[in-house]
């Protein structure tokens, strides 16, 4: 067998390449078939809908923010890395909000207390929207594996990156946000 293969190597190689080329053509994807139009909480998919109230009782909906770069950050006031990254989140929000950048801080209220969370927002002078996931429905829809978890969403509403754990460094926040802001509308 080995001897036969060696003697007819060129023939074998050509057969392998022709078969490979045929397979490539036969397994072509239909245009648009890779588009992940169904929402799922991972990179490359549309971000699942978020519709939650802020501290003032005003409803904030993710789909209404389409056209902006959105950072969704799941947090709780008892979580040390969440606390550690809040000042950097506030800083980048202040620096990039005018360019079409929004942060939605989703408090895991079913694992926290709304009162403690409100104190936390006041103490840290957070100005970006903080939403309260009272029943944990958004938390489970996003299949959040740990706190904090951060989702970077582009202007088309597609998740571009998921960062589990923290604290995220300010440099990482800035590079990710700048890359997404550079993309065409």
């Amino acid at each position: 067998m080995k001897r036969f293969l060696f003697q007819h190597w060129m023939l074998f190689s050509m057969a392998a390449l022709i078969t490979g080329a045929g397979w490539i053509v036969a397994s072509r994807a239909a245009p648009g078939s890779m588009a992940t139009s169904a929402p799922a909480p991972r990179q490359g998919f549309l971000a699942p809908e978020i519709s939650l109230s802020n501290a003032g009782g005003e409803l904030v909906t993710l789909s209404e923010l389409q056209g902006n770069v959105v950072l969704v950050n799941f947090w709780a006031s008892w979580c040390p890395p969440c606390i550690a990254e809040m000042p950097d989140l506030q800083q980048v929000y202040a620096d990039y909000a005018s360019q079409g950048f929004v942060i939605l801080g989703i408090n895991a209220t079913d694992q926290d207390s709304a009162e403690t969370a409100l104190d936390f927002i006041e103490d840290h002078e957070l100005t970006f929207p903080i939403l309260f996931d009272v029943d944990g429905s958004v938390f489970s829809r996003y299949e959040v594996p740990a706190l904090p978890t951060t989702y970077f969403i582009d202007r088309q509403g597609e998740i571009q990156e998921v960062v589990v754990g923290g604290p995220i460094s300010e440099a990482m926040l800035r590079t990710r946000i700048e890359a997404l802001l550079r993309e065409k509308r």
Partner: protein, 246 residues
């Protein structure tokens, strides 16, 4: 899928752990392989160390060049231990170039060196498959096959499992302790690995749900794999002829 491993209060990223374990296993092999291939083990150690170090430094520097404003404002961030601030492909190229330069300077024979590095490459390929399985990356296309798995809102081909099986089979095919005479011919082990890996990718990419598409719906990874397969087969034939003529 298990992206995070919870041990008490600790939440460990499983994907990173799997890759580190794979790399650790892989790096323990080249020195042992070197002696078998007629190379100096300490030179092989330095080659892998140089490649790894240059890869990390190159990955960070290329990332810094992509966002100069951010790092000029915060120069200490250049030294950050954050793996998210790396340009992975830039690192692979920088590491490969540095290792190649070291090998050239030290006069290491090309094919035996690549053969000694083949088992580590094969182990890393398996680790990448397992990392994809834990993270849910490299996911499959929607499927109604009985073995399809529920992932990201649809029943899909378990493409990560296909990837692990293929990489495992290739690892066994080029197993470093293989007694095969043909496998010990310089270059054959490495070129067999690249040909089999390219062939597996060409076939399995069909079942992926995240392929990058070229015009006419062609999958970019398949076209690249086809070219690598062609080159590997041609070089394999050439190596075999050279060995026979010797």
């Amino acid at each position: 899928m298990l992206p995070v491993l919870h041990i008490g209060p600790l939440a460990l990223p499983t994907t990173g752990l799997v890759l580190i374990i794979g790399l650790w296993l892989a790096l323990s092999i080249p020195e042992r392989q070197a002696a078998k291939r007629g190379l100096a083990p300490d030179q092989m150690y330095r080659l892998t160390f140089t490649g790894l170090l240059a890869g990390i430094v190159g990955a960070r520097l290329l990332y810094v060049f992509r966002f100069p404003g951010v790092f000029l404002a915060d120069p200490l961030a250049i030294l950050s231990l954050n793996a998210g601030l790396l340009d992975v492909w830039g690192g692979v190229v920088a590491g490969g170039l540095a290792a190649g330069f070291y090998g050239w300077r030290k006069g290491l024979a090309l094919w035996p060196t690549l053969d000694a590095l083949t088992p580590p490459f094969a182990i890393v390929a398996v680790a990448i498959g397992v990392a994809h399985f834990t993270s849910g990356d490299a996911f499959g296309a929607p499927s109604s096959a009985p073995w399809a798995i529920e992932l990201w809102g649809a029943r899909r081909h378990p493409s990560q499992v296909y990837e692990i099986i293929a990489a495992g089979a290739i690892l066994l095919a080029i197993w470093p302790w293989s007694k095969s005479k043909a496998m010990n011919m310089p270059g054959v082990s490495f070129l067999t690995f690249t040909a089999l890996t390219a062939g597996a990718r060409l076939f399995l990419e069909t079942f992926r749900g995240d392929s990058v598409l070229l015009p006419m719906g062609l999958r970019s990874a398949q076209v690249t794999a086809w070219l690598v397969l062609g080159l590997s087969l041609w070089l394999l034939g050439k190596r075999a002829k050279e060995q026979v003529s010797k």
